[in-house]
């Protein structure tokens, strides 16, 4: 059972129209660049994308939006994308906004086989509408269900042929959570090594969660807000 694929195109071979995808990353940090490009090229349509953000106009999930491949976006913040705005206002795109911690925890719950969790986020707001709520020790919580996704597309720093992943700095974000949650998890890594070359004590995502892995290339790693201080 080989997990290693040659490139993104091969790794996403069976992603189909209408599939639900989780895409790791926070803003443009830690996004599966190669997989997104391959999806754009493949032209699959009517995708339901679960991702914290929707990229920018010409990068990240923004590429799939521009190409009209996304039917529905489930995210916590989508403010950086004019094309997104246009499609939403035109009714071309469906969007479901959920609190960031709820998004993260619903992914984790899926990876941990926990069908539902309770969180106070959104109590008393429109997020609570239609949701079951419950009081524990005097505080109100919403019941939130684990996410399901046909595929999770994640990006790691280093990976090995057994599927183990190590993320770098804040590029970790949603990646390990989504990696656990996909029916099929596809990981692209900056550096792919043989099993045994990563320290087992430093693995962030154990290989059991990763079904396919490939070494990505030409990472742009675009910075959204380049902020610097004077030396």
């Amino acid at each position: 059972m080989k997990k290693v694929y040659k490139n993104a195109g091969e790794a996403i071979f069976d992603i189909s129209d209408g599939n639900t995808l989780m895409l790791g990353g926070f803003g443009l940090c830690g996004i599966p660049e190669n997989c997104i490009t391959a999806l754009e090229k493949k032209g699959v349509k009517d995708l339901i994308c679960i991702s914290n953000n929707a990229g920018v106009d010409d990068f990240g999930i923004g590429l799939l939006l521009k190409n009209k491949q996304v039917k529905k976006m489930i995210a916590s913040y989508v403010g950086e994308n004019a094309e997104f705005e246009r499609q939403l206002l035109n009714g071309e795109l469906d969007v479901e906004l959920i609190p960031q911690g709820t998004l993260a925890t619903r992914c984790m719950a899926a990876g941990y086989g926990i069908p539902a969790i309770y969180t106070p986020a959104g109590v008393g707001t429109e997020v609570a509408e239609g949701k079951e709520s419950r009081v524990f020790k005097g505080k109100e919580y919403l019941m939130e269900y684990a996410f399901e996704a046909d595929f999770a597309l994640v990006k790691a720093w280093k990976g090995d042929t057994a599927g183990n992943l190590i993320y770098k700095e804040t590029a970790r974000n949603f990646n390990p959570l989504m990696a656990m949650a996909g029916q099929v998890t596809i990981a692209e890594v900056e550096e792919l090594v043989e099993a045994g070359e990563l320290n087992p004590n430093e693995i962030h995502t154990p290989g059991i969660y990763v079904h396919r892995i490939f070494q990505g290339n030409s990472y742009e790693k675009r910075i959204e807000q380049r902020t610097v201080r004077k030396g």
Binding site: C29, P99, G101, E169, T170
Partner: protein, 217 residues
């Protein structure tokens, strides 16, 4: 009347040694510039970092190292990275001592509206709903009135809520107020601002139960 930096400076006085603090985007971010001498504070960024440092030097930006505002940043000694579930886990569990965030409206019972203006495009709540629902101590940093000079301290919020009964304290360009059972209790006024002006610009119930001192910095 305070400017944004002075609001941040006043809020920084609320910091205590050993605090873990989450600073929102906008004025709250500026608080980091005024951490008092001798006080050790650890900044949490909800995208997965404890121990956030200042912006990097030019040329030292790292695309893999950003804050929740997607700005390039650095880390300080003793920092740690983690995933978004653990990040909101520590927020939900009350491990973050203080959360400072902006708002469009705050009501006299501590409700906050900060994420959505009906009719305008919705950008999303990001982590704000998680933060306000869970933080032990929430300080709102905002202007006392909006661009139409209408009060942002209301009896009830008019905009869609971010969270309910959660704000503890508010620092505006005019005053420091705390939320009590009976409404906004005026604690301090900005230098040069009269109690009358604060009264006139506060729509919610304002409690003035003593001589109101000027803010100190």
């Amino acid at each position: 009347m305070l400017d944004k930096n002075q609001i941040a400076q006043r809020i920084a006085k609320e910091l205590k040694d050993g605090f873990y603090v989450n600073l929102g985007i906008g004025i709250p971010t500026l608080v980091a510039n005024y951490i008092p001498e001798g006080i050790n504070v650890t900044l949490q960024s909800e995208n997965g970092l404890l121990g956030m440092g200042p912006f990097p030097l030019e040329g030292e930006e790292d695309a893999d190292l950003i804050n929740a505002g997607k700005q390039t940043i650095t880390t300080l000694p003793g920092s740690s990275f983690f995933d978004s579930a653990m990040s909101f886990g520590m927020i939900r569990a009350g491990k973050v001592d203080l959360t400072v965030l902006g708002a469009m409206e705050v009501s006299e019972n501590g409700d906050i509206a900060s994420w959505k203006i009906p009719g305008k495009l919705v950008k999303g709540m990001g982590g704000a709903m998680d933060l306000v629902a869970s933080a032990k101590n929430i300080i709102v940093a905002m202007m006392h009135t909006n661009s139409k000079d209408e009060s942002k301290l209301l009896k009830r919020c008019k905009l869609p809520l971010t969270g309910i009964n959660c704000v503890k304290k508010i620092v505006t360009n005019l005053a420091v107020l705390e939320i009590t059972d009976k409404g906004f209790r005026l604690l301090e006024k900005a230098p040069g601002v009269s109690v009358e002006e604060i009264k006139s610009k506060t729509e919610g119930n304002l409690i003035i139960d003593s001589e109101i001192p000027d803010m100190e910095f």
